[in-house]
Symmetry: D2
């Protein structure tokens, strides 16, 4: 059994989600790689100690460079605010570490490019964890198997409702210098990665960004219309003013073979209308994606004993370790993260110019 | 084209629903029988005139016997309070009229027996209109085609919420002498007719009736457990204290081939889980029963242009006229109404004795 | 009681829906105006006779000018293919008739303008019947009462699935000369009228039209992004390639006070999330819009005895007659129909130019 | 920080769920008690080793008495087949251990009584984990706060679909000697504990058990009608022949204040119809029970980042540890487990005698 000594950089919400993944992956994934929670880095020494103790991190440091410099660290996991991703990940990759990085990969395409470049010889992962929602993985499988036929429409929206809450204005997510943008970097990137996963490249788009709160410098909402390389068309929408929706990361796909519909608030479910059923039998099926033959789910519990948000992180890590062990290809890696940045950049440019803008590929 | 001169007895809510059916049947059903709204009978002369004028009834009478005595009446439709059904329907049948009767057929099995006896030579219909809900007719077809396989469970509930409203205590529905009972005669009979239609005879049952409002002499809720002749078991529930449910006439059926689920508040929908689908594809389908190949619906509008409550009356009448014209068998007739009374009687006896009680057949 | 002698022009699906409205309005709406089905006009003499007989039209004509020329016609109802609306409606209005017209009002803004002009002194109605869906009328009331607060997002989609069916290629709906366009004139106009009703004027938009079937000259799908005068932003989508959706005319609105969601396939329901509820109690309510205090519904049946597609036509006509009788204002009239055309024209221009386009007001 | 040395007895599915709870509780619950996974007992030495290694158990034993005899074990957790609960739990309690026991508590009321008796001086818990589903805990809170008013109906069903699968006939769950009964001990007991939690004591009941597969000696389905001490009435149903339902542990409650509805397949949701809302606003709310003010949930993730099946075990344990630490009362303990057995015994007796049977209290 091979040991993998991990350094986690970040002590926020993502730090907790990643800690849980490192703690749980060995319980649910059968891997010869033993994950050791070696080092936790963060800037607040007091809370860092509490977190390390609670989540079983052996040591702590308030300087992320410790993780790079120590020879006994095999893997660096970057769960810092967006603007730090590039510098840290590049340093880690250059030091020969395996690098995991929270999404979005970077603030700019140039940075993302440099990250891909620096990490050419090390395994990488971007935490677009929703690819491991069983329902989304199953959607990918149905599409790959041709069950949806020719895709006509791919629409997606990510709606949250905390935008009007002024008490969060001071956080890094509301600061363009640290977050890059508002909902575009935060929520739209999730939609884009899932779209790339399920429906392939975007060719061009026209976007509109909107700030509802006077004085804010970030986008509260971001809308886009796009054309995909496969001939389908789509609408995207990301907003923190989707009052009534809490975490509604959703998509709806129509193809000659039927419809798929998903909403993260019901992450164990995939809705599927099969156009190949006899007409009188057709109806949207509410599939509880918890069968032993479904993807991802069988690692956890028995059929219909549902899983939650955290399991998508465990599963992403589990599959990454499996790829490490077997040499299998793994996605999403830094190149996939870069692909998201390129669409994002085109849409952001479009939202400034007001023109249809081609995605650089 | 043959003319059918109709006398409608009753000026309440059912009088309105039946008037609408007589007015509309020729628009949606292609029949050589021309329905003529000849006579409307009711006790309140003033409102009777208004209703006749609004719904196009040619004449009115405050004495229901006029309908029996007039030679130019071909069909008598009894939409009077329950306790009047037997006397009026028997008189009409003896006078050679075609007889339609609101549900429940009668207050007692003896009365229902006498009605069947009197009507042996005339066509009859009981207005268990929900057999013509497209979703219920389609459920019957799926079951008949063996899609549900061996039935294990047949459960049904009819929940309304107006029970706590004391302002309705003076109406005939709250008077045992006129209504027979509370929810048993009113709501449970609908459940029983649908059960007979979909799942066949009931062998025995144990019931519990409950009056929540002190001083009331009718049952506010009625619960039963039954064994069906086909080996399945079931629970029935009828209540006017199902707060939160407005008109939730519902059933859920489980068989070796899958599940069917229905709720009258969504009458255009039938939920179907097909156990013969591959495991990963299984999920409850929400079928909008509005296809041109579905039963009942094609008489009305185009696919997915949904219909409502009133259409079940139009369709029942439309199919009855078709049977009149072609000599085809029609259900539910008075015999079907009698079958409901026999189960009802056994369950009511059980609710008094506290014992399992066999249904007389 | 005043008599209104009606001439209906059109013998297709809309002809049937309008015939039903004329036949039923007096049953459900208490009006001193007696509607008389005087004349039915259409080009196919044989089927016209059958239709007139079935729906009780007293006379027929294969020349629509008969309706204009006859002095004993008070109201002309235009249910002809789109390209005929302007000529016929203008002639009828000039002859002093009350004019009802199917949607869209016209093929061009110029035609619509001319229609408004010609009809300045006669009462008019455009059959944007969905304003009378009780759930939509109730949504309008909630918004007017300030329950949604400041509107942030207004999104709407109308998805049907018959686009791939080549057997319908010969119908007038697939011919730009008769239909104007594909889904834009047919489905998008419904979305635009409802948006105007619920959320007010559109300022500018950017659109994309798509034809999936090679060789077709109409748009199979139409997407748009818009900015509303009230500061909200929105996405529209109309498609006949929304496989899995049959008649899914839907909207979703987010405001500071909550969310509203609607889908015509469930027309008796309105979903409402009230952001003013205590946080722990918040959830999307599925309101069955069938209470005696809800708009529209009380004209028909008792609570939770649901209505269907046809009732929206009856209700539109019922309210129009009420306005005729009382002199009350009525919407949507030709001016409202013109407002839809102006947005449509801007969006269609945008879909050709690829530029954001201002709506002429 | 106090250390709690745990011995887990059982290496099946429950062994895994409990292991996870012991491993995770310290991550999500802030407690001064440090849980140490000291000893894992099971009969199959080979798989025991694998399980211990995967879940971090320090030692193993193939003899459960080791756990009783070792002085350094503070807590014994019994996750063995039902027939072993009484003997093991009594031995552990007599040795002064804290005792946790899987449900049902015992095979008979006499055994359960003896367990309560033996455990009078040690803290106990029965793993009726569903009390810690946030939605169920929130339902309890709403009821306690009087939001449901007077309860009229309490109905519950637990439907699974694996009954027809003959390949499971050899497992202990299908053997009356080890399991006690079929669905009654397995599924009905969950319904009864939740009913006791939400609606209080059952006074009497009439039940029906059914075996669908010839030759089987266990019950495949179990139906009951009951009267509660609070005047409400209810129906229970437990079945493994609920084809189309995978893990549908559900209830529906109607009171003067509204309705509550729950289904374990959607465990993050509670449906609530508030009868105190204005009539036009009433509708069933789909509450995502993931707010920071909801019970249970705030220990885990951020709002709307949903949790799954396993979290109910973690939460039960977390609250038990909190009670241990603070001396607070904890439920469900062995007395609560005994209360379930008493209702179960009455219903099983009724299903044999065919008579209404009083629950011994």
């Amino acid at each position: 059994m091979r040991e993998l000594r991990v350094a986690l950089l970040g002590q926020g919400f993502m730090g907790k989600a990643h800690s849980n993944a490192f703690a749980q992956v060995g319980h649910f994934y059968d891997t010869p790689i033993r994950v050791r929670r070696t080092l936790l880095c963060g800037r607040d020494a007091d809370s860092l100690q509490v977190m390390a103790s609670r989540w079983g991190w052996e040591e702590t440091s308030t300087d992320w460079r410790t993780a790079i410099d120590r020879k006994d660290i095999d893997l660096v996991d970057v769960a810092l605010p967006n603007h730090l991703h590039a510098e840290v990940a590049i340093a880690a990759a250059r030091a020969g570490k395996i690098v995991l990085c929270e999404k979005p990969l970077a603030l700019t395409v140039a940075d993302a490019d440099a990250m891909v470049d620096a990490a050419q010889r090390v395994p990488t992962m971007v935490w677009y964890n929703y690819r491991r929602v069983p329902a989304i993985a199953f959607a990918a499988q149905l599409i790959k198997d041709g069950r949806l036929g020719t895709i006509f429409h791919y629409d997606a929206a990510y709606r949250q409702q905390w935008g009007p809450d002024r008490s969060r204005d001071g956080t890094w997510k509301m600061d363009p210098a640290q977050a890059g943008s508002g909902v575009a970097d935060d929520l739209l990137t999730h939609l884009l990665d899932t779209a790339l996963y399920l429906n392939g490249p975007v060719v061009e788009g026209i976007a509109l960004r909107k700030t509802f709160v006077p004085g804010r410098t970030i986008d509260d909402a971001f809308l886009a219309q796009v054309k995909f390389a496969n001939g389908s068309v789509g609408q995207f929408q990301a907003t923190r003013f989707g009052i009534g929706c809490r975490n509604a990361n959703s998509f709806q796909i129509h193809g000659s073979g039927g419809m798929l519909r998903f909403n993260l608030e019901r992450l164990n479910h995939l809705e599927f209308a099969d156009a190949n059923d006899p007409a009188v039998d057709q109806g949207t099926r509410d599939i509880l994606v918890t069968d032993m033959k479904h993807p991802v789910f069988p690692h956890f519990w028995r059929p219909a004993h549902i899983i939650g948000y955290e399991h998508t992180f465990i599963a992403a890590l589990g599959e990454f370790l499996h790829a490490l062990d077997t040499g299998a290809e793994f996605h999403p890696d830094f190149r996939d993260g870069l692909a998201v940045q390129k669409i994002l950049a085109a849409l952001q440019a479009s939202s400034s110019s007001g023109h249809w803008t081609t995605v650089a590929n």
